[in-house]
């Protein structure tokens, strides 16, 4: 991964005050696209990694109430630590690497995902579970074929919230010099080049809104029964 060094942007007449100076946008497609790509990669890796970790934690939590309290409490404590602080603490440990961004981001998704998966699994009516047992489902088959599909709306709702939250948090990683769309904002503030601030801010909001709408659509498409009930 490359980071934005103090290299100059060779420009003829520099118009730093314009909110949107197309000349700058036109001459910096690579910088803008790289920031966007980094942002998307960080977000996707963090949410997928978060899901992989949350699923077993949530399953364990539904089986053992005491474990559930411990898991949610720990995830809640991580969630409370401001992201800039976590990025800042990890920079001297891992340096300016992807892991420095992704580790905290995964940590922040845990509370949201574990809570939603547990809520989804808890919401499955006991009579349905008994019916599945009566039909001779093994515990694993019951989990995969009865409980998980029924918990899906809540799980996707969690993925949706985690994704939008992560997109916002990733913006902050740039303050520690870790890339993403926030890097456009940081560069824009330092240069100063107001257009870069605008582009970074607008793209990060647009990304969050698109992710929210897209996952909302997925939620409806995957769970047609939830729509009928309402």
């Amino acid at each position: 991964m490359t980071f934005w060094g103090p290299r100059g942007w060779a420009l003829g007449v520099v118009n730093t005050e314009r909110w949107l100076w197309w000349e700058w946008v036109r001459t910096h497609p690579d910088d803008i696209l790289r920031a966007l790509r980094e942002h998307v990669v960080f977000t996707v890796v963090a949410v997928v990694g978060g899901l992989v970790l949350s699923a077993p934690l949530a399953f364990a939590g539904t089986r053992r109430p005491r474990l559930r309290g411990a898991i949610l409490g720990l995830a809640g404590a991580v969630y409370t630590i401001p992201s800039l602080a976590l990025f800042a603490i990890l920079v001297p440990v891992f340096g300016l690497q992807r892991i420095t961004v992704i580790l905290p981001l995964v940590g922040y998704t845990l509370l949201i995902l574990v809570r939603n998966i547990i809520a989804g699994l808890d919401g499955v009516s006991p009579s349905l579970k008994e019916a599945a047992d009566g039909m001779g489902f093994t515990p694993l088959a019951r989990l995969l074929r009865v409980e998980l599909p029924l918990a899906l709306p809540a799980i996707i709702a969690g993925v949706r919230i985690a994704t939008v939250t992560t997109i916002g948090l990733t913006t902050i990683a740039a303050i520690a010099g870790l890339g993403g769309l926030g890097q456009l904002i940081v560069v824009g503030l330092n240069r100063p080049m107001r257009t870069a601030v605008t582009v970074g801010a607008v793209l990060s909001v647009a990304l969050a809104v698109l992710a929210d709408l897209g996952l909302g659509g997925l939620q409806r498409a995957l769970t047609p029964w939830a729509r009928r009930e309402r």
Partner: protein, 246 residues
Amino acid sequence: MEVFGDVLSWFNDRANWRGPSGVAVRLAEHVQVSLAAIVVAMVVALPVAIWLGHKRRFGTLAVNISNIGRALPSFAILAVGSQILGTREVPVIMTTTTFVALVALAIPPLVTNAYVGMAEVPAEVRDAARGMGQSDRQVLFGVELPLAVPLIMAGVRTSAVQVVATATIAAVVGGGGLGRYIIDGFAVQDHVRVVAGAVLVAVLSLATEVTLSGVQRLVTPAGLRASRRTPRIADVSPVDPALQAA
């Protein structure tokens, strides 16, 4: 890794605690602006949200406003805000930009929680109060509000933790607070100062969360505390309208 040993020495050096950029002053700045922002946000948002929840109107808007708030990255708001409002420093509130951004970010969770808390008071409870001859006012202040208080406080907690975190980032656009150590430390590649600042910020956030959870427990009516240990709607930040819908 030896950074962390140096961080301990940083905390042991009394010079770092005193003076205009010492921990005492930075901490006070951070707490001041956070407190001011959360109080103003509460004064602005709570009466409206409580009233709307009481009347059960504009529910979709009230529930979705925290979705909208989530989609607006705080750093983007601060950066754009600084371009509009400038970065001139103001006593107590750091910069106008910071203050406005903090208030704006604090409002959505307050509105959603207060609305949901009021609107979710069971209809039969309200009807019972009505049937006992209570006026609209008495139902609002004597029945609905006490029952909604735990959720309202959960919103205050969510907002406050977020405000403390965002006040850290605000150091990018000027002003004081604990974020200064992180931002200035990065600027001069002083990782010891960065980590020391990060530790202070983390401790302040956790302290905020723990303190406000305590307050939340204290203001929860005894009857509610006995009937269920936690409020029905997940009280862990952030409130989750999508989950409730699902």
